[in-house]
Amino acid sequence: MDQHFSRSEMLPPLAPPITERGAVKWMRENLFSSPLNAILTLLGLAAIYALVAASLPWWLNSVWNAESLGQCRAIVAETAGEGATGACWAMIRERWHQFLFGFYPPDQWWRPILALGLLFVALAPVLFAGQKRNMAFLLGGIAVYLVVTLTLAETPAAAFALAVALVLGLTALSQVQPGRLLWFTAIYPALCFWLLWGGTVWAPIVAMAGFVLLYLVFRFAAPVIGLTPAAGAGIVAAVLWWLYLQGPVSGLLQGALPFGLRAINSDLFGGFLLAIVIGVTGIAFSLPIGILLALGRQSDMLIVKTLSVGFIEFVRGVPLITLLFTASLLLQYFLPPGTNFDIILRVIILVTFFAAAYLAEVIRGGLAALPRGQYEAADALGLDYWRAQRLIILPQALKVSIPAIVSTFIGLFKDTTLVAFVGLMDPLKGVTQIVRADIDWKGIYWEPYIFVGAIFFIICFGMSRYSMYLEKKLKTDHR
């Protein structure tokens, strides 16, 4: 009989040696892969230990209930012994509302809260175009946010019911006809303005009617006199409307159908309300202006090109703080005496210009990255200039520029703290300073910075994550 030996089954695989698996392997590869890396790792650990050892007691001894810094110190000394340090978050507990709303009257807090919620509703069709599931999540989240915060802010029942009904209605709309939600996005700026500043409801409606007028003039004049003259005529008509008819018409309507919210003056705005108003408006308006400037700079038309280059180079050439001082001081000199040109509006306009100039260059980078063939292909298809830009060039150029555009946005949002230098109450310096001017909290140092920094981080990190998601979604090159 032919004897031979053969296995009938495989041996189970052995575990890799201890140095080649699990935490040990990971540490060998990542922390101690060479003598230099080992030293750096140890130094890093020592630094982390020193930081934690120095700050941990401060965090652990946090005090939440006190009426002044002195009381905080007494409580820390009592609980942790003489000489111990501790954070005094009681200051945040007492003054959080000034960090968030500035001097906005407490019984009206529901208005900025609602405006923030609706901001995300308005953004939903832009952020998640055509993705019903994501939109449903976002709008559901907003509904929950509004119900909770509006209840806490003791919203009047009518406003509460209206707000919730509006959000639920829009959620339903987003599931049935997501595209229609863009109409809400279009009217949102006027709605937001009315919610935040109050006054008669007719003022924003009549102002928006100017845009309708622009469109109508354009629509009916275009076939007769051509596109460009029609656009010009539309703009002239709208400007005339805003200059001469807006006031009387809204006054008339207010007389006939009085309806409005309590007017809130700009000097009551402060904290993150101010930062977000300036930041979001700046972001929303700087992107289209930036795109136009970038296209203008690439244009063959001499005047358009010169104006765009001049604007971009001038605005990029001066620091933001100079523009803010211009907004705050010089404009007052140039305008006729007695003109009351809202300071927040002045600041928003100049911040928008500043961001637009930077964005223009970012987008120009994206345009330059496109191969020439794309432009030629658009021409070969017989598309006119605007169609070619809209359908072929810009979608690709903007996609390439997403990381840089979002960087500019994040930078713009953080730069809103600079408005402190023109006397506005930004959260970082303005509010912190008035809190410290209170004798109860004088001498407090890290707590306001940490609180404000944490909120800024959450917002900026959110923007950054969204841009990564967007890049992934739009990735088509299978690299």
Binding site: L69, G70, R73, E94, R95, Q98, F103, P106, N265, D267, L268, F325, S328, L329, Q332, Y333, P337, G338, A420, F421, V422, G423, L424, M425, G430, Q433, I434, V435, R436, A437, D438, I439, K442, G443, I444, Y445
Partner: protein
């Protein structure tokens, strides 16, 4: 400095253009609101509290002016101004009056075309040191490190003082008061210098206030007072005499509590004129005759304003010192009310 000249010239030229318009007094009356340029937040002198109401020593003067002109101390809008924007805000007409611990100096009065109409607080630059440093006079600070805010007149005063006394120092520059306090407490500097009122406020809130002393030397004159635009004399008079009314009231013992009673019972002719009982004093500057009575009723006399905001008994605990009435050895002296 050049920038200041430029803004000053710009301001002066627009002022000439603006003068053709109505005076500030008429503007304020027409608007029904006084716009007061205030500090962005200075302990004891002007800052909003947790509910957004402005309080403080300078703030009370604004309220007194509003009470005198408009009859209501709440009809004031406080516009926070920074060190950079304060004078242009006044010149461009964004604020009616600047009550913001600004030092009256030659160049501000002439070059910037401002009018400082009174001095509501006499301040001066001082030093704070730790007790265990063993120093009892600023002249012993040879070789010391000194915490100092950059870009202020205090920086120049400090250099002058040490140069005059032929001693050396090492400046540690800081951006603002809170940072200075932190650096000083952390031991980054031996001495901290700023206005004496600021030192007192800082010391009052330090964890171990008793271990710090404020040295006796005051090395500069800092007369702080309300400023108005150059050339609008009627408005300047209103602000000046509203302040003087508070001083006279203290001198004559008129307080917010007894003002009504004094007005009916007094036999003192000056008090009668002050409270509008006789003499038509208010009408002479375009106000109601009881304008100053309203101001006193709203905020109290100078002594009350001082005691409530920064005086002994408050946490800041500033003695009257130079700010006592002239009858009590201080500098606060109002011209006769006649």
């Amino acid at each position: 400095m050049k920038k200041t000249v430029f803004f000053g010239a710009l301001a002066a030229s627009t002022l000439v253009a603006g003068l053709a318009g109505a005076g500030t007094l008429d503007d304020v009356k027409a608007r029904g609101e006084l716009i007061c340029g205030s500090n962005t937040g200075l302990t004891g002198f002007g800052a909003p509290d947790a509910s957004g109401n402005w309080t403080g020593f300078d703030v009370d003067l604004c309220r007194a002016i509003a009470a005198a002109v408009l009859g209501d101390p709440t009809k004031v809008k406080f516009l926070p101004t920074t060190g950079e924007t304060r004078f242009t805000a006044l010149q461009s007409g964004e604020v009616d009056v600047l009550v913001r611990n600004s030092t009256w100096s030659f160049s501000r009065d002439s070059e910037l075309a401002l009018d400082f109409v009174a001095v509501n607080y006499y301040d001066g630059q001082g030093f704070m040191v730790k007790k265990d440093l063993g120093v009892s006079s600023a002249k012993e600070l040879d070789g010391a490190t000194v915490c100092i805010q950059t870009g202020t007149t205090t920086e120049l005063n400090l250099a002058d003082f040490f140069k005059q006394n032929n001693i050396s120092y090492q400046p540690v520059t800081v951006a603002d008061d809170s940072e200075a306090q932190r650096q000083y407490l952390a031991g980054a500097c031996d001495a901290y210098t700023t206005d004496a009122s600021g030192l007192a406020a800082s010391r009052a809130t330090m964890p171990d206030a008793d271990t710090h002393i404020i040295l006796p030397e005051i090395i500069s004159k800092e007369p702080l007072g309300p400023a108005v635009r150059h050339g609008d004399n009627q408005w300047g008079d209103v602000v000046r005499w509203t302040f003087f009314a508070l001083l006279v009231a203290e001198e004559k013992g008129v307080t917010s509590a007894n003002v009504e009673e004094v007005a009916t019972s007094t036999t003192d002719e000056e008090v009668k004129r002050l409270l509008g009982v006789s003499g038509e004093m208010g009408a002479k500057m375009g106000l109601d005759n009881d304008a100053f009575k309203r101001a006193i009723a709203a905020v109290g006399n100078y002594g009350e304003v001082y005691a409530r905001n920064i005086g002994e008994g408050t946490t800041i605990n500033l003695a009257r010192g130079l700010n006592a009435l002239w009858t009590q050895g201080g500098l606060q002296y109002a011209p006769p009310f006649r």
